[in-house]
Symmetry: D2
Subunit: 397 residues, 4 copies
């Protein structure tokens, strides 16, 4: 709990109140109750185009102010942080305007729909940084304690030389061919499909845990169901089918492989057609000294194999990442009392608030977000060119 | 989200602000954001004997009022609900006074330290009920979606005739012989050790899921470490050792077996000495038609075996209890995005608020809490009498 | 592979050729191919009352000689080892006659149906031992590498002071109420039900792994299905129902708890009504320094928790017990290429052949078998006497 | 057990007696004891260049005859089956000579080191077939019951339209940079590294389970450790280091992705550098109607998700593939009593002996082996050409 004498409020304005908006709201309100923060977040404003829905949201979360135009929010003198939880095509204009207005910006992932947008956002972030304005992209899984602990083990050298990165994000939300054509299945809104929505998390997570970046990639993408019913109503991936059919213009699945700057072999698969897998974001890293393995469907567990032990007693051990020594855990419950999905967002809010409080740059930065964007574009370029091994640095929109 | 036109506030006063107090506070504040509630909880007051610590807590959680005397809280006209999160020896006086003052009462478990206290509390609850005053005991695991779904499967007859109940609660918090003599290890404060603290959850959970109650029990209890250092500072089970030694007056572990009113064989084990098990609250039910199996260390999973399937394709299936069809889940995230420990408390708050709103009696009731108390006493009676099979109905303090 | 110059044959006569007979035959024939043995087993004779079936068996396994009277086998000068794989009521007469005839005896478990028989067998074994005649009881799971490795970890002190033994043997073979009344469900043939058939394995295994023995026990037993169809044909637990009904005279399930001579708390459950559990023989040992956990349904795995590691990196590790450093494994395949159920019997044959070859006494001995018998009787005595805690030493038939 | 009246012997000559030779010998000797076979295998001859080692082997396995020249074996009138268990460069000459001599041939995998050899072998098999001579390639994992059951589920349409094939074979045998340069690490002996040794199993297994074949592939391969100590002694992958260093001329790891003739997306990874993974041959198939998942490290389990069930009760179920209804299982033990690695070889022997007995062609055929060879070559071609998507049909040596 915070020492109130020194605490300054950190007034947050939230843009968007769908799935991501709800979880960000919960995160901003939870963070100061459980973590010491020199800047105490206050979720003061929510912004949404539909005033009635925005008001309902404000009522539920006890938020005092509602805006329907993000420009008003961005320019308000009563806002310190702009938190962007809207579709990708709006990220660049809002983020750049907010940074220029001197607001700290937390922007949902993927950073943008194109490299050009992402580059402009990264440039705006660089400029703003010199004025003490912070920016962060919402690769929230970095706040999952097991992922953060995996990174720590790698940093401590426990894995030795990394040989393999194996990252899968398996979902099954749209296996049904009658699932409607929501915005996430439209290229102009979403940029890409499984690739950008969930594959982007894999790319960031692999870089975060290993500290390595991809230098080249070879890829295949696939759209299994090429036409779907037009939607009646839309809310993220939850929707009901209406009349008429439309073309799916994004990938259903993407598989890609490449090498990192340190010589590891990395494989990725992102799909919405892995029947029975609900949110199986999996990462395994194999190094000369050991391995770690993670599956988000058991988010409180990290499996660690210490290859320096005698062979007879070595094996993947299930670490329940709920000890007070684990990242973020000293704020929470006793060992074994697991956290949930939303806690990663609370931790993201904590990291951002602390960075603002201490005048440091948080991570993942917009540069990190731009890196992911480049990989996404290289994947699409390779998939369009017979899976040709494509240097990450070579791609443009 | 709630339709605000019809919403009446439900003003909650929280007594105690340690581990349980914190999680109850989070629950009260989270519940109205994610659930439709006709009475909207507002955590308006916290009560604690140490004014400074209580004030810090109020500050962190944004609670407007602090009391240091529970009697003031209980008699305040600005309180609708008294939520009791203090050691067991205080449950009876606070709960009875609150009920008599017309406050709805949520009381942490176990209900009391003795049967006499529990009977007095249940009697007070009966009297209060006729005046529309509600009471509930905090066997929070009933709010864990996987547990609630297990009950649903049993209720639907999917398990057939129940043959076995197998319930274990395994922890390892005090394996170290130098862990100090905290209040939970003192009989006069805690009533019993692992038995009452975690074994009580097993007894309630088994009754909740199966709808059956124990008729007799045979038990062994053990105190492995009979003397421990006196504590320097105390906070639940977290403490540091000071000077001097004292006698441990509660059980470290309890094992007990019995039969239910429907002829099932039930086994229980509660221990704080299961090295490597952090919060392994496990329940398996075997019936003629199928089985369910649960381990809290993977709280989002329920394993279900459907014995009516052909043998070749039958097997325990891992149900990730995160579908919108699962209990409580329509309020939360997409499938596969797991919940955490604290969500069970949010759901408990929801159940209580809804019961108050609809004028129904919530469960688990004080009667349910009294039943657990009788089993706990029978366990102690049996353990003191050579494990003799002891009828639950026969025990008194 | 054996150095043939010094190898003497070890001529084995097998009594019985049902389930156990087949697996013993495979074990005797496999052992000398993969293990160095100074006495090389040769399965020369099979004995069965039904000459036709015995001849078929001999044909399949390439066994040269068939007997229909066990007395002829026992007294044959061309037999070195008598291997007893018939129901429990025949163990004592065959084993004692064979020992008196100077034959080494391997006898299936449980050793006998009564303590009196078991005592007579143990006495015969003692007498025979002085003449260099060896005896062993077939608690075959000691030959499962993961179990043998668990024992090794305990012996090396890796678990510290043992606090808990938790042993379950869960099957579901007779959940169907129409499953017929085979000999294993008749007290006069089988002695007891789940208790003696599978519970006996738990008792031996717990003693083997921990090196501790039970001093007292409290028990409940249950027969869920009290009448069953008379069988049409019988083969162990595989049978078809015929006409008429008969009373089940053995337990369907037994649960018992007690203390060991070193102060550990031990719980046991043996049942044939755990729907969905096929052969879930489970053992967990918790000690001050660590824990091991095993489930036969994943027989190549041992889970080990090293409690001396820092809390942040500790956890149950899955040891795939297939390294050449593991017990018995240097004779087999590369790491990760698992063994099966029958290999434990091959290892049992190896242990027995080596003991004979080196002139040492193998274990488990008939004394070990008698200990199990005493515990089984104490369980039945306690269950008949209101679960009273019953000293193991106190029981007689 | 076989009905001996009609049984004809099937005289087997084994070429090679290392790891594979031992397991084939055990398989030939075990098969007729547990399975009905109209041709009863008799392992009459073993062939090895080192007469002393071959004699030791013959002694251990009770084999009557030893040859040191495979030509003598191939041309012997007392041999019905030639079983080839030597390095890949010898497969073609022995197999072709044996087929031409009218012997049935079982040949270890991969079929050959080059496409040209494999084509010549397939041509010889076609010619021989018209004379009633049978041939089979040793993709033994088809005999693993869980794999065979997965195929059955696919065949029955339980998976619907297949979308994803995900196949990994992870080992860690040569992670240590001082592991010596054994023959399996030399291109001229082994053809390729992880790719041909273990990746070939994945290719065959994916085709077997799904009934689909790859049409094109994109690949990356990697040799992490480029120089290793020359070996002192060699036995498969088990060896000790000697003096001097040599170049590793095969891949340490291969990752490849492609599409099947039915539009599924398939990913493969074969590596010897996945620290902590011993023999993790994994296969997951996702279809519109369900999924199956397998890991050889738990070889008795198949995980099946039935997507036609209501979402609330669906989930991957762990089928312990030990029921008598499962492939090959009626010959073995009761449910839950698992089989081991070697049983797949016994089943392979059974399939081959039955095909010979019934005059049918067994599978996998040499054509199936040639298909795998073409994929292996396409992988190498793609890896040499910037991961270019390479049609399987286009490749030649």
């Amino acid at each position: 709990m915070s020492d109130t004498a020194q605490v300054q409020p950190l007034r947050v304005g939230l843009v968007g109140h769908s799935f991501m908006g709800r979880i960000h709201a919960q995160a901003w309100q939870t963070a100061p109750r459980f973590f010491e923060l020199s800047r105490r977040p206050q979720l003061t404003t929510v912004c949404g185009r539909d005033a009635e829905r925005a008001n309902q949201f404000a009522e539920a979360f006890g938020i005092g102010r509602v805006e329907t135009d993000w420009r008003a929010l961005v320019n308000s003198p009563e806002i310190d942080v702009v938190d962007i939880c809207v579709p990708g095509d709006l990220h660049a204009p809002i983020a750049i305007a907010a940074l220029e207005a001197g607001k700290h910006v937390l922007c949902e992932k993927p950073l943008a729909n194109t490299i050009a947008e992402a580059e402009a956002m990264a440039a705006a972030a660089r400029t703003a940084r010199s004025a003490g304005v912070r920016s962060m992209v919402g690769y929230s899984y970095r706040g999952t304690p097991a992922i953060a602990y995996a990174r720590q083990l790698v940093n401590e050298g426990r894995l030795g030389t990394i040989r393999h990165i194996r990252a899968h994000y398996l979902q099954d939300g749209i296996v049904d061919e009658n699932f409607p054509l929501v915005w996430r299945l439209q290229q102009e809104k979403a940029g890409s499909g499984a690739l950008g929505d969930i594959g982007s998390h894999l790319i960031d997570m692999a870089a975060f845990v290993t500290g390595q970046s991809l230098t080249s990639i070879s890829a295949l993408t696939e759209t299994f169901v090429k036409h779907r019913p037009l939607p009646d109503s839309v809310d993220g991936l939850a929707a009901t089918a209406g009349e008429g059919m439309g073309a799916v213009t994004v990938d259903d699945a993407a598989v890609f492989s490449g090498r990192t700057n340190a010589g590891a072999l990395a494989t990725f698969e992102a799909t919405r057609f892995a029947t029975g897998r609900k949110n199986a974001m999996r990462l395994e890293i194999n190094g000369s000294g050991g391995s770690v393995s993670f599956d988000f469907e058991n988010l409180n567990e990290l499996w660690f194999h210490d290859h320096t032990l005698p062979a007879a007693e070595a094996g993947f051990r299930r670490i329940h990442v709920t000890e007070s020594e684990h990242p973020f855990l000293d704020a929470w419950w006793p060992p074994g009392h697991g956290l949930g999905y939303e806690h990663a967002f609370t931790h993201q809010a904590v990291v951002f608030a602390r960075a603002i409080g201490s005048g440091a740059d948080p991570s993942p930065s917009f540069e990190d977000g731009l890196y992911v964007q480049r990989v996404l574009s290289a994947v699409q370029a390779s998939a369009s060119d017979g899976a040709r091994l494509t240097p990450i640095s070579s791609v443009a929109d």
